[in-house]
């Protein structure tokens, strides 16, 4: 008897949740449609901006999700790594190579900067893992989490020293101007960030699914002890994962610095939080989910900030985090995540 009432209650609850979710999505679609009717050109432009922000978030979100997938740690320092990547590329391109305008040589410098910043951030991430997180791998969960917060503060300090306390603007090597299709203006910078991000994402997917190292990563994520017995060097695999995450954050840092032309020491905290939200939204630990979540968050943020009928930029974070909280409450596993049962 008790079992039956429990089941019906569960069922009723699920029905209520589903109808509420349908209602919310319908409301959002209606809002989008109204905006589209009001000014189609602006809508398309804003959507495109949101999409390009989304893939930038995806690069950062993948770092969170990779690390969480393998050692179940929220690496709070990851956003700040992205910030340092941006700072490094700004210094590399503008101060060390003195490139200020788009040119043939500029493209070469840009490529060189991309490779160096990826290596730079990967090395930092490996170092952090080696000296802080590795010692705490068997400690209660609170310990590595607090350590990660501390690491984030230290990286912010480095950023503060390197960049100064204010925002700094930098010249961009990317061509200015817009590609105009049917009166819709699409900036070249956005197109280029697509051109950089998509190959990087494909390469990552290749590494994780096709290579031996990727196989080792997946095995370690499932069961560290068993994979150790199978002859996998667990420490090296985890270091490799951190390196991958760091490299992605570095690439994101370069793209952000070049497309927006600014650096600031506390940028990493904000963007890291948003990217983390994206990773959770897609189901943390799931790579496709992180990209999906990041694109959705980018779009929502773009729409909220840029559409004629919207809350506007000052509520941007509130909107993003409200969505995160709602999602956590109703679907803690995320959009693509699998439910996990707790092991005793």
């Amino acid at each position: 008897m008790a079992g039956v009432t429990y089941k019906t209650r569960q069922l009723r609850r699920r029905n209520i949740e589903r109808s509420l979710a349908t209602l919310a999505i319908a409301g959002a679609l209606f809002w989008l449609l109204e905006n589209f009717i009001k000014s189609p050109t602006q809508f398309t432009e804003v959507t495109f901006t949101g999409l390009s922000n989304g893939i930038l978030y995806a690069l950062i979100a993948l770092g969170y999700t990779l690390v969480y997938g393998i050692i179940e740690l929220i690496n709070f320092a990851h956003g700040d790594l992205f910030m340092l990547g941006g700072l490094f590329s700004a210094h590399f391109i503008t101060l060390w190579f003195g490139e200020r305008h788009s040119s043939g040589k500029g493209w070469g410098v840009l490529l060189l900067a991309l490779i160096s910043v990826m290596i730079f951030c990967a090395v930092i991430n490996i170092t952090i893992e080696r000296f802080a997180y590795r010692r705490l791998r068997r400690a209660p969960k609170l310990a590595p989490l607090i350590t990660a917060v501390g690491m984030s503060f230290i990286l912010q300090f480095v950023g503060l020293r390197w960049n100064g306390s204010g925002q700094k603007t930098w010249p961009s090597l990317l061509p200015a101007g817009n590609l105009v299709i049917f009166k819709v203006k699409l900036p070249y910078t956005t197109l280029i960030s697509f051109a950089v991000t998509i190959p990087v994402l494909l390469a990552l997917s290749y590494i994780v699914t096709r290579t031996k190292q990727g196989k080792a990563m997946r095995a370690t994520a499932q069961d560290q002890d068993a994979s150790r017995l199978m002859g996998i060097n667990v420490n090296r695999t985890i270091s490799f994962t951190f390196a991958l995450g760091g490299a992605l954050a570095g690439a994101a840092g370069l793209l952000f610095e070049q497309t927006r032309g600014l650096t600031s020491y506390n940028l990493g905290f904000q963007l890291g939080l948003i990217a983390f939200t994206a990773a959770v939204m897609g189901g943390i630990g799931n790579l496709q989910g992180a990209v999906l979540g990041a694109v959705i968050i980018g779009l929502i943020q773009g729409w909220n900030d840029g559409l004629p009928i919207g809350l506007g930029q000052q509520w941007s974070n509130t909107v993003v985090f409200s969505i995160l909280i709602l999602l956590m409450v109703f679907k803690p596993t995320g959009l693509l995540g699998k439910p996990t049962t707790e092991k005793v």
Binding site: Q156, W315, F321, P332
Partner: protein, 401 residues
């Protein structure tokens, strides 16, 4: 297993005694400090007085006590119940704005006076400080439950993120709250100022009555200590500790997880609210842009440094960090600069200091300066299972592989 037996056999009788010694120690320290500032300092030489003003000014002491109150609340959430809360600043902000709304001329369309010593003609809502303390605490407890109810089902790291999200949302609401459909909720970044000063025994405290304020804040901190200690040894406190140590096992033993966690949240939020109200009267205003993520982290650092779960440790940690943050670091920096003829801007190193502090504590002394014996055993359980230095040995072994 061994934890429980040890607790039963030897320590049970000694524990209350040591709590009593600590309480007496702290109360007498508070009295000594009071006597020192009220009766001794005014009669000393000018040089000594200015030394006191640079190193330990009374206002910094009061601010440190506000931090203590908030840290004790966070200790209940993090130290007792083991729920990582990264958005504690939200409760501080809510408490502060309660004081801003109910103790100032901000809502000047109304004219409500109750128990406040301010003149009746001044427009605005002016309630008694003590009433506002209770109202702020209640409002925060309500928000603690509202925030907690949907989120406490989550596992630890998700909970941390959701609380972080709330810690970002609520200050943003206050920053943008100047015009919500034409209603001015918080006066935006301009903040609400001045807030009424504390009224006690029919008298309003002036801006220089720091000694009275000190006594009131000590009283509030002592109240939080009392609440923490009583709750901890009671049924609820034991349920918190059980959840902290093993959530699954606790729920199997019949501990109602949601209710217990919510209680931790609500009690923690109450003290956040008290701290908020106290802070508003301390700085004589409330400003939205002060409520940043770093406040949550500083509070966490206080709890971690002092010793999670140990009230006295948290108190020492909070006093120490609050002092370093307000006057200790600049004064120490000036001293070092003048002796070694260097020119280092010490306060700019706060990020490094807090970050390094958190990391080093976690790596080498997870249990804090004044550890709680039970938590210490728990935190080193993994080491004990595999011999003392197991994690290090294992790593070097694997590295050679």
């Amino acid at each position: 297993m061994s934890i429980i037996t040890r607790k039963k056999s030897g320590k049970k009788q000694r524990a209350p005694l040591s709590q009593r010694t600590w309480s007496i120690g702290f109360l007498s320290l508070a009295v000594v400090i009071y006597i020192f500032y009220t009766y001794i300092v005014p009669h000393t030489s000018d040089g000594f007085q200015s030394q006191i003003q640079t190193w330990f000014p009374p206002s910094a002491l009061n601010e440190a006590l506000v931090w203590v109150i908030a840290a004790l609340g966070l200790n209940i959430v993090v130290g007792y119940a083991g729920l990582l809360d990264l958005g504690f600043v939200a409760f501080w902000a809510i408490g502060g704005y309660t004081a801003g709304w109910l103790m100032s001329g901000f809502f000047n369309q109304w004219n409500i006076h109750f128990g406040s010593e301010s003149a009746k003609v001044i427009p605005g809502i002016h309630l008694s400080f003590w009433l506002v303390l209770i109202l702020g605490a209640l409002l925060c407890a309500f928000f603690g439950i509202v925030i907690g109810a949907p989120t406490l089902r989550l596992k630890s790291d998700y909970l941390a993120i959701v609380t972080l999200g709330f810690g970002e949302i609520i200050p943003q609401i206050f920053v943008n709250g100047e015009n919500i459909h034409g209603f001015n909720l918080s006066n935006g970044t301009k903040g609400i100022s001045p807030v009424d000063s504390i009224g006690i025994f029919g008298k309003r405290l002036g801006p220089f009555d720091l000694n009275y304020k000190y006594m009131i804040f000590v009283f509030m901190a002592a109240l939080m200590v009392f609440i923490s200690l009583r709750l901890r040894s009671g049924r609820l406190g034991r349920a918190w500790l059980a959840i902290r140590e093993d959530e699954l096992a606790a729920s199997m033993m019949g501990v109602p997880l949601m209710k217990t966690k919510l209680a931790a949240y609500a009690v923690g939020a109450i003290s956040g609210g008290l701290a908020g109200v106290a802070y508003a009267t301390h700085v004589n205003g409330i400003f939205a842009e002060r409520f940043q993520f770093s406040i949550s982290i500083i509070l966490l650092a206080m709890v971690v440094l002092g010793g999670m779960g140990n009230v006295w440790g948290v108190m020492v940690g909070a006093l120490l960090i609050a002092w370093v943050n307000s006057t200790g670091l600049p004064a120490l920096g000036n001293e070092i600069n003048s002796t070694f003829k260097t020119n280092i801007n010490f306060p700019s190193y706060t990020f490094l200091i807090f970050g390094a502090l958190l990391i080093l504590m976690m790596l080498f002394r997870r249990e804090g300066l004044l550890p709680e014996s039970r938590l210490k055993l728990m935190l080193h359980e993994s080491d004990a299972e595999e011999g003392n230095e197991a994690p290090h040995d294992q790593i070097s072994e694997e590295g050679a592989m």
